[in-house]
């Protein structure tokens, strides 16, 4: 039994919670998050598929770049990519045993996410101001639905990161490896959210 088994007193020790299972080579949470991401692929896939079906079936289709703010979206793309790299840097520093640097990088990620959301809010309010609503046409409908859902994913990530910066960081004292794993896992989720945006950006703004 691991030394930290006693920490959670009544809590049950689940095998391969921290260390990889020898024959699969992964620990539970890593497999879990990849499965979750697989379902997310299907969720966003269905939305992309709907977009294609609606667009190919439409007589005319508005072009995003004619009225959306391409410059701001490009900036946001950079910001999200930056936030992805800060997560892997945080994870690497945690693996080196450096909590302090890890935390700094996680904070940077949260900051990037908040900048992204602020820019997005600015974009939304601009559209509303110009009387462009989801109900205006199907392009705007899918634009608001997909970016909105993506924004919710960003928000979810921010909440998780804040938890790991604050109360969740206590785990480092007793179970440093488990904490590092958690950052890896939330990082995988975060990169996926970045990945979705990498496709959303050209499809909604440039096509």
């Amino acid at each position: 039994m691991d030394a930290h088994a006693s920490v959670g007193h009544a809590e049950l020790e689940i095998p391969y919670n921290v260390h990889p299972r020898p024959d699969t080579g992964v620990y539970n949470a890593k497999l879990g998050v990849w499965l979750f991401l697989a379902s997310e692929v299907m969720l966003f896939g269905a939305l992309f598929s709907s977009l294609i079906l609606l667009r190919t079936g439409a007589e005319s289709w508005p072009r995003g770049y004619e009225f959306l703010n391409v410059k701001l979206a490009t900036f946001n793309t950079f910001i999200l990519i930056l936030s992805s790299v800060t997560v892997v840097m945080a994870w690497s520093h945690l693996r080196l045993g450096n909590l302090k640097k890890g935390r700094i990088y996680i904070s940077a990620t949260v900051l990037c996410a908040l900048i992204f959301l602020t820019a997005k809010a600015f974009e939304y309010s601009h559209e509303f101001h110009e009387h462009r609503f989801p109900k205006t046409n199907n392009f705007l409908a899918i634009y608001f639905t997909m970016t909105g859902l993506h924004g919710l994913h960003i928000l979810g990530g921010v909440i998780v990161f804040l938890y790991f910066l604050g109360p969740g960081a206590k785990m480092w004292l007793h179970e440093a490896e488990r904490y590092t794993n958690r950052i890896e896992v939330v990082g995988l989720y975060w990169h996926f959210v970045d990945l979705v945006w990498i496709f959303l950006f050209p499809i909604l703004y440039l096509m």
Partner: protein, 126 residues
Amino acid sequence: MTDPAAAVEAGVDVHEHAGVGDPNAHHHSPEQIRAEMRVYLAVFAGLGVLTAVTVGAFYALRSFPVRTAIIVALIIASIKGFLVAGFFMHLLSEKKVIYGILILTVIFFIFLMTLPFGHHANPFGS
């Protein structure tokens, strides 16, 4: 497992990091981790350049048919996606079980993507 002697920086918490070595775990040496960090920064630079290329290609291709612009944009996005998944999500060195799940997902994702094509390709009476 991290070698405690290598963790010399201030504020480094080494306790708990010694021992419990698992030969199957993907624990890298500090040098390897530092090398990985350099790769991450290089990938970051690559992604930044590709984002610029996406926007540049978009302005350059404005006089071309929409089809061309879409194909070019999707190719660039796919390269960026590969970089993120391959390096940041370290899929290039992942375990078989995860590849298995992702291959399955990709197959079903393709089914999902054929849905609009199937819908429009062959309407009744054609």
